[in-house]
């Protein structure tokens, strides 16, 4: 027990904290230092995101055109609302966590149980929301064309509203078989083919004279550039690939790195939330069976609380960097 909670507090000054350096128990101190190193890891990721974004500053996707979904509101463009909701859920679960810590200080077991339970529920809702966000991101909404040079073309109507490939692509009597492992000459296969071929998109574009192409380049007014009809036709003749949704190689939103960073950073954060929920569940059961009641200290709740708040702290930055700026 002495290993987990130090109760003897001498007044001798060792680093100004008696026999506990810096006035914190061993476990708490180590949790703080873990948090420092984890914070630096996340900073590394976010700084790398900044690096890539600065590299392609003129063509980076605009966040409020990417994250526009809200549950049960299909087809309505609702930028930011969903992620704001997720932020609230996480902040609220942070509040219930700190209330659990507070109740632990007063040795009120039942209150700790209730608040820990609410925290776990909040965490699960958050992870679920993130999964839904990923689903929409991967599925995509409009589709786009990649040119031979690697830039991305999206389609808009005369008013500048986005148009999905499905709304105009022609159906040509052509069939291309997907290369699967059992038909390949060697250990070869390819990812599933897009719903439309490049030729079908080009034919469909020709048949709809009111369609225009939007490039990745951001104008002075901080919108994406919309080309004239002639320029659009010229650019489309260089098309090489139909992009639908997002994966680690391509995405229909713009810069290829954008999706990579989105998956990696929100995925790493989501993994932290997930492991936080697991740790919370373990501690929750420890509280239930009275481990900390016997130990006469709820410091363990405080330590997982630190981790949980850290996850919330990281989300505050991810929210700003990915969705606001």
């Amino acid at each position: 027990m002495e290993a987990t909670v130090t109760t003897a507090n001498s007044e001798e000054k060792t680093w100004g904290g008696g026999n506990e350096p810096m006035g914190a128990s061993y476990g708490k101190l180590m949790m703080w230092f873990f948090i420092v190193s984890d914070a630096l890891t996340f900073s590394g990721f976010l700084a790398a995101y900044g690096f890539s974004r600065f590299k392609f500053i003129e063509t980076w996707p605009l966040a409020d055109e990417v994250f526009t979904h809200f549950p049960f509101m299909h087809g309505v463009s609702a930028p930011m609302y969903y992620v704001a909701l997720m932020t609230f859920i996480l902040i609220f679960s942070s509040v219930t966590m700190v209330l659990a810590v507070d109740a632990g200080h007063q040795m009120k077991k039942n209150k700790v149980v209730i608040y820990m339970f609410l925290t776990i529920i909040g965490g699960l809702i958050f992870v679920g929301s993130q999964a839904w966000e990923w689903k929409n991101f991967i599925k995509g909404e409009y589709g786009a064309i990649e040119t031979k040079g690697g830039s991305l073309l999206q389609f808009v109507d005369k008013e500048g509203h986005r148009v999905a490939l499905a709304d105009f692509a022609a159906t040509l009597p052509e069939e291309r078989e997907q290369l699967t492992r059992n038909k390949g000459k060697w250990f070869m296969n390819e990812s599933s083919l897009p719903s439309y071929s490049v030729a079908e998109v080009q034919a469909g574009f020709k048949a709809h004279p009111d369609l225009l192409i939007r490039t990745e380049v951001i104008t002075k007014e901080k919108h994406k550039t919309i080309l004239s009809r002639e320029e659009s036709e010229l650019r489309l003749s260089q098309a090489s690939y139909v992009v639908e949704g997002a994966n680690l190689t391509r995405n229909e939103y713009g810069s290829k790195l954008f999706a990579d960073f989105f998956f990696f950073i929100t995925g790493f954060h989501g993994f932290h939330v997930f492991s936080g929920v697991i740790i919370n569940i373990i501690i929750f059961f420890n509280v239930l069976i009275g481990t900390y009641e016997k130990r006469k200290s709820y410091e363990m709740v405080e330590k997982v609380g630190l981790y949980w708040h850290f996850v919330d702290l990281v989300w505050v930055f991810v929210f700003t960097v990915f969705y606001l700026v």
Partner: protein
């Protein structure tokens, strides 16, 4: 523990109120994107983004100080945790953002258009 065991619930709810209010302001500004903030820049970043980063740091301060109870820790622990993080992050950001901008200029002004 050495902390006095008084209940802090009042402060917790107050901080929750502050964090929620700040988030609402952020979302509101993020949706509206007022032109006078979005189109004017200061030190090559537009004012809106400055506000977003300032509010983020403001929120981070409240999460660390109130929720993680940094305000109740010894000043040595506070310094040991906060200063290395701030220093290293500023250093990292300076290096990477400067270099990112440099590569942008290379792509823009030289014949190299796309290499990685």
């Amino acid at each position: 523990m050495s902390h006095e065991h008084v209940s802090n619930t009042g402060r917790i709810w107050k901080v929750f109120g502050i964090l929620s209010a700040v988030t609402i302001i952020e979302v509101y500004l993020g949706i509206l994107k007022p032109d006078f903030l979005h189109m004017n820049s200061f030190l090559s970043m537009n004012l809106l983004n400055w506000i977003f980063y300032a509010l983020t740091i403001f929120k981070a301060y409240y999460i660390v100080w109130a929720f993680m109870h940094m305000e109740g820790e010894k000043s040595t622990l506070r310094s040991a945790v906060v200063f290395p993080v701030i220093f290293l992050i500023l250093y990292l950001l300076f290096i990477l953002l400067t270099e990112g901008n440099y590569i942008y200029e290379v792509f823009k002004n030289s014949t190299i258009k796309w290499n990685f």
